[in-house]
Symmetry: C3
Subunit: 139 residues, 3 copies
């Protein structure tokens, strides 16, 4: 069994952002030499997500607006977590909706994807250096 | 390490549906010959889910009603994604609540499940051919 | 390829609770002897979650309050599932927000985690014996 590990770093300009990382993940699979296996991609921070959905500009705005409706940022004093001096409680909530990680199949050395599947890093508390992990196992 | 891959196809009559695929997944595990390993089951479309919960008719209706409350289908012009000419933005949102995939343990050649765990394909934009992927690795 | 399996049992005093199980999972990895691989941790019950986020007392209260807002327990007759004689339909909904499982990377025999990642068992219908599964594969 082979295994491979790689980190991807981000530093978004805005508090929230949605970044397509599909090519980077496929690049890691290429480097791993794994032809049949599983690939885990997860946020290493607890106020960010890795998820799979469409790379369509309108949808990314819909997600952003919807998440803000389900778990609004303000007023920040509605959350007890923000009593610690942070203002990012909403980011911890938004991340649970979108998920921490994806596990994807590797078949014949490629991401085994349907027609529109794209891997995204979803940032909900950016403007600082943060990272995601790619871990690959297989043969 | 062994690996095995299988696709399951669906074509639901209604826009939304919830289909128990547990036996099909166990059948794939049998064909794989894997006794100890992991089984990934994921929607290959971005407006559908694979999730694990109860096969109870009332609960399936509760899910449907709840998802429609959290991410309503209409009015369709509330979503920018629908400016593309589609009307399925809500399906992309509902799928994030229910999740894209499950990863399940295989122990002694069986789905290693608690008493009520059942695997479902959740369709949120049906009435066309769509599919899920089963990928199994192990020994 | 090595594999390892362990169950963790819970019996919470309250209906809902959030229990940090990170050390137990690391202990299972130590027992498995796996240095490079994947570790699946999942609730074996369909009214509970395993998720990764911060071990901060305020945030745990924020989650609890937020989940109760998105999927309220009462009135219990708002859910058809409760016509079965149960009163836990809300727990099946809350669990979908927080997720059934996490898959974590094992690197050099350790949970390959970012600085604040902690694994939690989230109970939404406790006061009885319930359990989670740890399944590890790798070399």
């Amino acid at each position: 069994m082979k295994s491979y590990r790689e980190e991807i770093w981000f530093n978004t300009k805005g508090r929230r952002d949605y970044i397509n990382i599909t090519e980077t993940v496929q690049g890691a699979i290429n480097k791993s030499g794994v032809k049949e296996g599983l690939c885990l991609v997860n946020a290493m921070h607890i106020s960010a997500s890795v998820y799979i959905n469409d790379d369509e500009r309108g949808l990314l705005k819909d997600y952003d607006q919807w998440l803000e409706k389900l778990a609004p940022h303000a007023p920040v004093d509605q959350y007890r977590h923000n009593n610690t001096g942070e203002d990012n409680a909403d980011a911890h909530l938004k991340r649970q909706i979108m998920g921490r990680e994806v596990v994807v199949a590797i078949t014949d050395g490629k991401l085994d994807f349907g027609p529109w599947e794209q891997i995204f890093y979803g940032e909900f508390d950016g403007r600082r250096k943060k990272r995601a992990l790619i871990k690959i196992i297989g043969d």
